[in-house]
């Protein structure tokens, strides 16, 4: 039905006047984009607006209590931060009390943040970060320290994963784009990790990362003739996020290799032939033929990787559940945990809306930056 109508309206287009032609083009444009737009609207955008609405209420996933409009309360609970200066404990003469190691001791924060009528503004806040300022300790308190940790981790994850994954994927794409016998086999092998779902991959890597006798430790120890000391990859706050990053890059690189590959395919062969005739070497071809031809692909990949990395979830859910000590908390993981597991659908939706705004901002920045270079 759709085809026939388009055909009928458009076949006469070139014969009409210019303005009319423009109108026809606009009409055709709308018509061709409409099915996808309507579907996205119904099944993605409307539900999301719905979710935004939920974030302004106290709605629970399941509850007999009535839903009430609460304004921005859910957002305030997430974002409330406050600085607080902690003064050292002092003895009778006013000198700071030192602990066994000679460090200055401070009163416990809970004396201020828990049920202290003198500090009502601090009630329920938790330490997110703290710095030593002279003898005092400057503490950044947050009403939701876990959320800030998740935000920070996710940003680190994106900043590390995006270039690594895009870069490795391009290298692989160039490798398997060679005219070599049997190169297809490698195309498939590099794609393998993508084929297995992330849930499964994460389960397998738990075995690999095991701290005592995991494969990675066994391998490193064998390669270094026993000099390597086993590391508890997922059990230590220093290595857990890095381990998840490494696995994620490894898993996703094949996905983006495929996108790069199809970008490479769209570069006309004659350009390379012309370059060869002009005496260009491999590097020059890469620099002056391949790279410019990949501009749109690069934009696509950068945006897609950014988006995908921001939605870090499955790995965390299966491998660490945010631990150890919140070192692998992630935004979407928090959104899901609150919305589903803790039945706080309003709070979970608020996190998603914040994430959406952050990424929207970044994607506008990205498209602005890439547009300028054109």
């Amino acid at each position: 039905m759709f085809d026939a109508r388009t055909k009928a309206t458009l076949s006469s287009a070139p014969k009409t006047s210019r303005g009319n032609r423009k109108n026809k083009e606009a009409f055709a444009g709308w018509l061709m984009a409409a099915p996808a737009i309507i579907l996205l609207l119904t099944f993605l955008i409307v539900p999301f607006i719905f979710a935004f609405g939920l974030s302004l209420t106290n709605q629970r996933l399941i509850s007999p209590n009535p839903t009430e409009y609460v304004g921005l309360r859910n957002y305030k609970r997430l974002l409330n931060v406050r600085f607080f200066t902690l003064k050292p404990l002092v003895d009778a003469e006013g000198n700071p009390v030192l602990d066994e190691e000679g460090q200055i001791s401070y009163p416990r924060l809970r004396n201020f943040t828990r049920n202290n009528p003198d500090y009502p503004q601090l009630n329920g806040l938790r330490e997110f970060k703290s710095w030593q300022v002279g003898k005092n300790r400057l503490v950044l308190l947050a009403s939701d320290a876990v959320f800030f940790r998740a935000l920070l981790n996710t940003i680190i994850f994106v900043i590390v994963v995006a270039p690594l994954q895009a870069g490795f994927a391009l290298l692989l794409a160039l490798l398997v784009n060679q005219r070599l016998r049997g190169v297809n086999v490698f195309r498939m092998i590099y794609f393998m990790p993508v084929v297995i779902s992330m849930v499964v991959v994460s389960m397998l890597w738990r075995f690999i990362y095991d701290g005592n006798d995991g494969l990675l430790n066994s391998l490193l120890s064998a390669v270094s003739f026993g000099a390597f000391q086993p590391v508890d990859w997922l059990g230590s706050p220093q290595t857990a996020l890095g381990s998840i990053i490494a696995m994620s890059v490894w898993q996703g690189v094949g996905f983006h290799m495929v996108i790069w590959l199809s970008g490479l395919q769209t570069i006309p062969f004659v350009l390379y032939e012309a370059a060869s005739i002009a005496g260009a070497n491999g590097w020059q071809k890469l620099r002056y033929v391949t790279w410019p031809g990949l501009r749109n692909t690069a934009v696509l990949i950068l945006i897609v990787i950014t988006m995908q990395s921001f939605s870090l979830y499955t790995q965390v859910q299966v491998m660490t559940r945010g631990g150890p000590l919140d070192s692998t908390q992630a935004i979407v993981f928090q959104a899901v945990q609150r919305g589903f597991e803790k039945q706080d659908i309003a709070g979970g939706s608020a996190i998603s809306v914040l994430l959406f705004l952050i990424v929207l901002f970044i994607s506008i920045m990205q498209s602005y930056l890439t547009r300028e270079k054109r």
Partner: protein, 294 residues
């Protein structure tokens, strides 16, 4: 003459070096698959013990196909695979058509509001499905359907509820848009001058030269659809509509059946590999065609 000889030797060395690189990198990517397949032939206890050594990759010890037999007894695997392949095939098919059409419109045609609409679509890439799952559930539960039993309300427990919401996807639209932007404008202009309609340009000019893009979009969508989990869990209430990833949960009992899980994973990976291999041809053919195209 000597120079030529050297070049020949360098060339051969270069070839060997390339293969060596390809193989080394290949090892990094293939080991979990090897682990998965090898493990699927081992009994649970041995499988778990082997994870701490290189034995994990070797078909040694007590090797049998018992896991496969037991996996088929535990769950209606054939049904799950059929469901997944059917749901995936229909959504990929319809999705390629509608999304490429939209991509064409965004990349080639001029119409008011285009930029804003595209920006919104790209932004929706970030909406985690988990956030909209509940609202979406309420929406599909409200929508009418006309089927064999006449008009019914609510799509739950069906194929369409697992297909229609996912036909259009922002990633595909964006992918098509980006690639169609690279197409030589002259081809389209030429076709316009020849009096071709926009539909004809899409169908006769654009689709034939866009094999790699369609192949890429198909693969990515296939993966996303085939790995669907949370949604079917919520909407497929009877076993007859459940796909493979929900089926995987059948193996997580109090005592996790690791060997059967590996067998199950090996089985359900096969359709994806077949699909990927089939699409490889599209890549190869388009290499040839792009040579002609320029």
């Amino acid at each position: 003459m000597q120079a030529k000889n050297v070049r020949g030797r360098n060339y051969r060395l270069g070839i060997y070096a390339r293969y060596a690189t390809l193989i080394l990198i290949g090892l990094i990517f293939i080991f979990p698959i090897v682990f998965m397949i090898v493990s699927s032939f081992k009994p649970d206890l041995q499988l778990l013990r082997d994870t701490s050594s290189l034995r994990a990759f070797l078909p040694v010890g007590d090797i049998s196909v018992d896991n496969y037999i037991e996996a088929f007894e535990r769950a209606p695997i054939g049904r799950f695979i059929f469901n997944s392949v059917f749901i995936t095939a229909v959504s990929v098919g319809l999705g390629l058509f509608l999304n490429s059409l939209a991509g064409f419109s965004f990349a080639v045609l001029e119409w008011p509001g285009k930029t804003i609409v595209l920006a919104v679509i790209i932004a929706t890439l970030i909406i985690p499905f988990e956030t909209i799952a509940i609202p979406l559930l309420l929406i599909v539960n409200f929508l009418p359907w006309f089927g064999l039993e006449g008009f019914t309300q609510g799509w739950l427990d069906s194929y369409q509820v697992q297909i229609i919401p996912f036909i259009a996807d922002a990633l595909s639209v964006f992918l098509f848009t980006q690639f169609f932007r690279d197409l030589p404008k002259e081809i389209i202009e030429a076709a316009r001058i020849d009096g071709a309609s926009w539909w004809q340009i899409y169908q006769r000019v654009l689709v034939p030269i866009s094999g790699p893009v369609f192949a890429t979009a198909a693969i990515l969508k296939f993966l996303a659809m085939y790995n669907q989990f949370l949604w079917p869990l919520m909407v497929a209430q009877s076993e007859e509509f459940r796909p493979v990833m929900v089926g995987l949960q059948y193996f997580f009992q109090l005592n996790v059946a690791w060997g059967e899980i590996m067998a199950y994973l090996t089985i359900i990976t096969v359709p994806v590999l077949i699909f990927y291999l089939a699409l490889q041809r599209a890549f190869i053919e388009s290499i040839a065609s792009s040579g002609v195209k320029g």
